[in-house]
Structure formats: structure tokens, C-alpha cells
């Protein structure tokens, strides 16, 4: 019986090519993507054929969830501080510099001004849990939303207002936000939508 000799082959695979590919992919993702912003409520924007992209900076985003809670986000930290100080002044709440520093790093905010101090004192995890049940009051008797927008506009005159609302939000809520904006003479704003392809015929 002759023995079958199995030739010993090295199982070493050259990973260089693989590494090249992954680096390429990584570069692609790093260059093309933008970070997802943490938002307190999940919002599905309606689709539209509009192809205008949202500008990069100076955005004041108004986030409206299906139940009508309103949240705001500003993209520049100096504006955040200035806005909170002036809103606090208008509504009679003083904030310490420590609280301002804490407020500065928030991605989205939307707390009635009375509970703002308590909110800022919380830890980040607790803040996330509580935020989705709060929201800025927009009713006509206590329209803090207007105060926020007005002061944000003073803090940064180049601000562009963008409304991001869930597609199932009742028009009633949108209307109250839009009338508040109209009262402040903010007549130009953007509505954030997602892309939908549709042809004329």
C-alpha cells in the first residue's frame, strides 16, 4: 500500500487586499455620512419631491411629535447659552453659569421653563427618560415656544427655522406652531421631508 502524501500547504491568507478594501469602505463612510442626532421622540417625516437640501449650519429645528409635543434644537453652543439666559430673563428664572454649561451640551431641549432647573440638575440618562414626556408649552395662555423662538432669533439673526414633524401629526398642532411663527413675523421657514420619487405622468 502506498501512502498518499498530502502536500502541506500553508493556510496563511494574505489579508493585505482585504485590509485595502476595508480602509476604502471606511473612508467612504467617513466622508459621506453625517452623524445621527439623538432625538427624544422618533419622528417619521413625510415624503416629498422637493430636492432642496437642508443647509449645514445655523439651523433652529422645531421637532413636533405625533401627540403635539414641541422640542427645539440649536446647532451652535454660544447661541444656546445666549438663548437660555435671555429666555430666563424674560420668564423670570435665573440660571447659574454651571447650569448654562450643562444646557450648552444638550442636543435637543424642550422643557417648561419652570422645570428647567430641575431638569438640568438630573443625570444624562434621567434627562433622556424624562424629556419625551415634557415639551415646550405652545398654548395661547402660556406660549413659551414664542419666547424661545424670539430669543433664539435675537441670539443669532442668521438662523433658519426648520420644522420636522411626524407625518401623523394632526394639523391642529402644526397650525398652532405656524401661527406662533407668523406672530413673530417668521414667514419663511423650511419643512423637513424625506425623499419621494414621483413623476408627473
Amino acid at each position: 500500500m502506498s501512502k498518499i502524501k498530502v502536500a502541506r500547504k500553508s493556510t496563511l491568507i494574505d489579508m493585505t487586499a482585504m485590509s485595502d478594501v476595508t480602509v476604502l469602505l471606511l473612508t467612504f463612510f467617513m466622508l459621506t455620512s453625517t452623524f445621527v442626532q439623538k432625538e427624544p421622540v422618533q419622528v417619521t417625516t413625510p415624503g416629498s419631491v422637493s430636492e432642496i437640501k437642508i443647509p449645514e449650519s445655523n439651523i433652529l429645528q422645531i421637532l413636533i411629535d405625533p401627540t403635539g409635543k414641541v422640542f427645539l434644537s440649536l446647532d451652535k453652543q454660544p447661541d444656546m447659552i445666549e438663548t437660555l439666559t435671555s429666555v430666563g430673563r424674560d420668564l423670570g428664572v435665573d440660571f447659574t453659569s454651571e447650569e448654562l454649561q450643562k444646557f450648552k451640551i444638550l442636543k435637543t431641549f424642550g422643557v417648561p421653563i419652570k422645570s428647567m432647573k430641575a431638569y438640568l440638575a438630573m443625570s444624562t440618562e434621567n434627562q433622556d427618560g424624562v424629556l419625551k414626556d415634557l415639551g415646550i408649552p405652545t398654548d395661547s395662555t402660556d406660549n413659551q415656544f414664542k419666547v424661545w423662538i424670539r430669543n433664539a432669533r435675537i441670539a443669532n439673526p442668521d438662523l433658519r427655522i426648520a420644522i420636522k414633524a411626524d407625518q401623523n401629526t394632526p394639523y391642529k398642532v402644526i397650525k398652532s406652531v405656524m401661527t406662533s411663527l407668523q406672530d413673530l413675523r417668521e414667514n419663511r421657514y423650511n419643512l423637513i421631508t424625506s425623499l419621494k420619487v414621483e413623476s408627473v405622468k
Partner: protein
């Protein structure tokens, strides 16, 4: 590829030989690949590729200083009022509302053969002009700036319809965006979002009850 062949001349320590000793430096790239894969996964999960689209709208100012004379009245023959109501329903009437005839308010739909067909028909002059312009742009006869300028001129030209969008409280935000979208698709330059009046609500109820309300009033 990852091997580097070093030609070691053997120095002087060994036998003073002329034999060249080959040392192959093999670099294992597997950990590198592992790390890259991890990074890619991170980027895929934590970032979004598409930037959100936006729709720019100009709302009319409700400034009280604008007098009645300054406001331009819409010609009744050019006006189309679109009423958005709950449960994705959409109605429209042209010109002045007729409160006596419940059929003056017509139901429509968000489908291509609904409100869009109507608006395209009403706006056919502008639509065909815009299409011509688009052709020209595709053939690179005009630049993007010229295109936007011309398109704006056509959209705001004479005899183009004016659309008034009114939404009831139980319409959704999606309905509003869909309606605004139709304006984009149908190349309508003049449209406005207005608050719904009691008269419009009456029209809807009148249509739903097949003219019962107007008959009651007539009695």
C-alpha cells in the same frame, strides 16, 4: 505583498561568506482588518447617509399694518380652493363657494388622477412651458441659473391658477405636505396656506349629508 524581502549581506560575523541570507518579514494584516470592520460597523450604525430634504415655504404675514388695498385679491376665476380633511380626504372648489349647491364642493384624492390631474389641466400652459425649459436644460442650452429664473417667471405668470390650501384640524401633517407637493409637481407658483373658515366646514358637512344643511336653511 506584505512581505518585505531584505537582502542581508550577512555582515562580517559569519564566515565572511558571499552567501546572501534572505529574511522574509511577514506582516499579518488580520487584526488590522478586524479593526477596520469594527470601525465600518460603527459608522454604518451611527451615521446616516442621506441628508433630509426640505421644502421652503413662505407664509403670508398676518401683520395688521397691511391694509386691505395692499393685499392683492385673487381673481375668482383663477382661484382653486383645496380643503384637506380627516381620513386622507381632500375636496376642492373653484372660484367662489356656492353654499346653496352641495355639489359645488367636489371630492378628490391624493392619487395622480385626483387633484393632480385637475391642477395640471388648469395649469397646462405653464406646465408645457416648464417642460420645454427642462428639455432645453437637458440639452445644455441654458444654465441652471437661467432655468430657475425662467421657471419662476413662468410659474408666476398671468393666467396661472392660484391655489388656496385649507386644512381642517383633523387633517394630518402628511396631508399638508402632500398638498404642497402637488404644487411642486404641477408647477404652481402661487399658493397659500390659509386657515379654514366656518363656511368651508359647512360645505364639507353639506356634501356629506348631500345638501341637507342648505335645504334646512332654505326652509
Amino acid at each position: 505583498m506584505s512581505e518585505i524581502q531584505t537582502n542581508d549581506t550577512g555582515g562580517g560575523k559569519k564566515k565572511g561568506g558571499s552567501k546572501q541570507k534572505k529574511i522574509s518579514v511577514h506582516v499579518d494584516f488580520t487584526p488590522m482588518v478586524d479593526m477596520n470592520m469594527l470601525l465600518i460597523t460603527f459608522f454604518m450604525l451611527c451615521t446616516s447617509l442621506s441628508k433630509p430634504q426640505t421644502m421652503e415655504i413662505n407664509m403670508p404675514s398676518n401683520d395688521k399694518s397691511v391694509t386691505e388695498e395692499d393685499q392683492n385679491k385673487v381673481k375668482a376665476s383663477q382661484a382653486i380652493t383645496v380643503v384637506l380633511s380627516g381620513k386622507d380626504s381632500i375636496y376642492y372648489y373653484t372660484g367662489q363657494p356656492n353654499y346653496e349647491d352641495f355639489n359645488s364642493l367636489k371630492p378628490s384624492s391624493y392619487k395622480p388622477d385626483g387633484i393632480r390631474a385637475l391642477l395640471l389641466k388648469r395649469n397646462d400652459v405653464a406646465v408645457s412651458k416648464i417642460n420645454e425649459l427642462k428639455q432645453k436644460k437637458l440639452q445644455l442650452k441654458i444654465t441652471q441659473e437661467q432655468f430657475t429664473e425662467e421657471a419662476a417667471k413662468i410659474k408666476n405668470g398671468k393666467n396661472t391658477p392660484v391655489v388656496i390650501i385649507k386644512a381642517t384640524d383633523n387633517a394630518t401633517y402628511k396631508n399638508l405636505i402632500d398638498a404642497l407637493d402637488e404644487m411642486q409637481i404641477c408647477n404652481i407658483g402661487k399658493y397659500v396656506i390659509d386657515t379654514i373658515s366656518a363656511g368651508d366646514k359647512f360645505l364639507i358637512r353639506n356634501l356629506q349629508t348631500k345638501g341637507e344643511l342648505s335645504r334646512n336653511i332654505a326652509k
